[in-house]
């Protein structure tokens, strides 16, 4: 289950308000810039390309290969999209894919969408672009260079995005950094290999069948210096910061408590159990359980009541 691309789609409820707001602001800004860039640069662009490509990548995520013991490798596709249509269009393609997964298929939460967009559409695409460019600059423009840079871009986009995901969980106080970072990073270092191999296979096919498409991606004027620098900074920053955060989990917890001002304010407002014990019950744990049972009964009562009223109304109507 963890060996699929979905391990990175954070549901609602896992992230604190501060982390959510920060991620939304960054993601919306990048998406806004990407939209403006595309509107300005490509006056005669093929308007259907991004939609159709998004559908292909969405469906392509179903293409898997068996690894071992029932696990299988999947595709996320951020690196492939970046290589084929350039970073700004790829941001939009991944935005469409990730948003539709959240909205229609409940793969990732609606509020958490800001963070999921940040991880997969911003970090994934920017890192893929930066790595792809840098490796190609080192190796030249040979066939081998295209494949190696594609593999490296795919692996690092998955790995760095998973670090971002782990840090978001840690900053929200949902999963301590010393557990979340090694767990997410370790699993996705493996998943990234699968992504890299699939990307490699796809590039080999496209190179043989439609080499012009790869040229098209290269020639995209939209790959600006800003994405290159941003992607490099994200990759280096997250890979350096994650081990640090992981070895100082208390520091991060402190940040989450102190600077997550809403979280902190909330915790003091809601220190619920000490003064909110069910009357007559001394034991805290028991009081919590009783409160839970009462809650369940209230829900059951109200919904059953509603169902009953509805049935009565219908009987009267017919």
């Amino acid at each position: 289950m963890l060996f699929s691309a979905v391990a990175m789609h954070i549901p609602d409820g896992f992230l604190s308000i501060v982390v959510l707001v920060v991620c939304w602001v960054i993601s919306l800004t990048v998406i806004g810039v990407a939209l403006r860039r595309l509107n300005r640069l490509d006056s005669d662009r093929n308007d259907s390309l991004m939609g159709v490509l998004a559908a292909a990548i969405f469906a392509g995520q179903m293409l898997n290969f068996s690894v071992t013991g029932g696990t299988s490798g999947h595709l996320l596709g951020a690196a492939l999209a970046t290589i084929l249509v350039g970073p700004y269009a790829a941001v939009l393609v991944m935005t469409i894919v990730v948003s539709t997964q959240a909205l229609l298929f409940q793969d990732g939460g609606l509020l958490a969408l800001g963070a999921n967009l940040f991880n997969m559409a911003v970090v994934g695409v920017f890192v893929a672009y930066a790595v792809n460019r840098l490796v190609r600059r080192l190796l030249g423009e040979t066939r081998l260079a295209i494949f190696i840079s594609g593999f490296a871009a795919a692996w690092s986009s998955i790995f760095v995005a998973s670090l971002a995901c782990a840090l978001e969980l840690a900053f929200s106080g949902t999963s301590p950094a010393n557990i979340a970072v090694p767990a997410m990073g370790g699993i996705h270092a493996l998943i990234g290999l699968g992504e890299g191999l699939i990307t490699l296979g796809a590039l080999a096919f496209i190179y043989a069948a439609r080499r012009d498409l790869l040229k098209l991606g290269q020639a995209q004027p939209n790959g600006s210096r800003a994405v290159l620098i941003g992607g490099t900074l994200l990759a280096v920053g997250l890979t350096v910061f994650s081990p640090w955060a992981s070895s100082h989990p208390d520091g991060l917890e402190w940040v989450a408590e102190e600077h997550g001002f809403l979280g902190a304010a909330r915790d003091s407002l809601y220190s619920i159990i000490p003064d909110y014990v069910m009357p007559g019950i001394q034991n805290e744990a028991l009081a919590t359980i009783v409160a839970g049972v009462v809650g369940v009964l209230v829900v059951l009562g109200l919904t059953l009541g509603l169902a009953y009223v509805r049935r009565n109304i219908r009987r009267h109507a017919s």
């Binding site: 609602d12 409820g13 595709l75 469409i96 909205l103 999963s175 699968g194 619920i272 919590t288």
Partner: protein, 270 residues
């Protein structure tokens, strides 16, 4: 291969819309979208131990499930999707300070940890239910129009619409590819498999992805030519929507007031 080819893929790639004529189906898509977001925000604002908020929100989602005639069973079954991600929140059980309820080796389960874990579980579970009711009662075109009405950029909305138009076509293409691969892959009764190394298998999957992408490029060229031929000039023209009926506005205002009330209640009862 006991579960079929797609046993390990996460998405059940079907349009989640369930046709119907219930109150919830007839409610304006904009109102539904706003109220769903309001419900999830209310949940997100609630503290780990604010049980009253969870109880009230759960009442809302289950009532919506009943009113929409989807049935509580349908919504609850689909909401189990969230379970795998619960693993990520498990460590929090043992990471909070406080008196230990249970101790096991070096780990100690505390009330604060349990509270925070259950808070996360409830929030994601309830949010999921709300989203399930929303998409099961609202067709995708209406959702897109609602997003457009809420000022989402037009390009993004029309791209998403195009993606939705071609998604199921592509899914069928992928299913054909997978079936063809399965048909050519031999597996003996005792579990021996044909085929090459792991890397070779990955390359084959990659080649299939590459083929899909090349076809999608070619398809999009034809699609765009057809769009231009039909007068596309960068804007998609839609049937004008009828204005929202008064009862929609009433539901919206009442709903928003209710969620504000629940948020305040959550703070007060702390």
């Amino acid at each position: 291969m006991s579960g079929g080819i797609f046993a390990d893929t996460h998405h059940s790639m079907h349009d989640p819309y369930q046709p119907g004529n219930s109150v919830i189906h007839r409610l304006d898509a904009r109102v539904k979208l706003l109220l769903t977001i309001a419900l999830i925000v209310t949940g997100a604002l609630a503290a780990p131990g604010a049980w009253i908020v969870y109880v009230l929100l759960l009442t809302v989602t289950l009532s919506a499930a009943i009113l929409s005639e989807l049935g509580v069973g349908y919504v609850l079954r689909r909401s189990l999707l969230v379970l795998p991600f619960m693993l990520a929140a498990l460590p929090v059980l043992f990471a909070q300070p406080g008196a230990a309820l249970l101790s096991w080796a070096q780990l100690s389960l505390t009330v604060a940890g349990l509270e925070r874990f259950l808070g996360v579980v409830f929030k994601s579970w309830i949010s999921l239910q709300a989203a399930i009711v929303l998409v099961a009662t609202t067709p995708m075109p209406d959702l897109l129009l609602a997003l457009r009405a809420l000022r989402l950029p037009g390009l993004l909305v029309s791209m998403t619409g195009l993606m939705w138009r071609y998604l199921f076509l592509m899914v069928e293409e992928v299913q054909r590819l997978l079936r063809a691969r399965l048909a050519r892959s031999s597996v003996a009764a005792d579990g021996r498999r044909g085929g090459g190394t792991l890397i070779w298998r990955a390359q084959v999957a990659g080649g299939m992805v590459g083929g899909l992408l090349v076809r999608s490029f070619e398809r999009s060229d034809r699609v765009y030519a057809a769009m231009l031929a039909r007068g596309y000039d960068g804007e998609i023209r839609l049937l004008p929507r009828p204005p929202a009926a008064v009862w929609n506005v009433v539901v919206l205002v009442a709903g928003l007031l209710f969620f504000a009330f629940v948020t305040v209640l959550g703070v007060l009862y702390a």
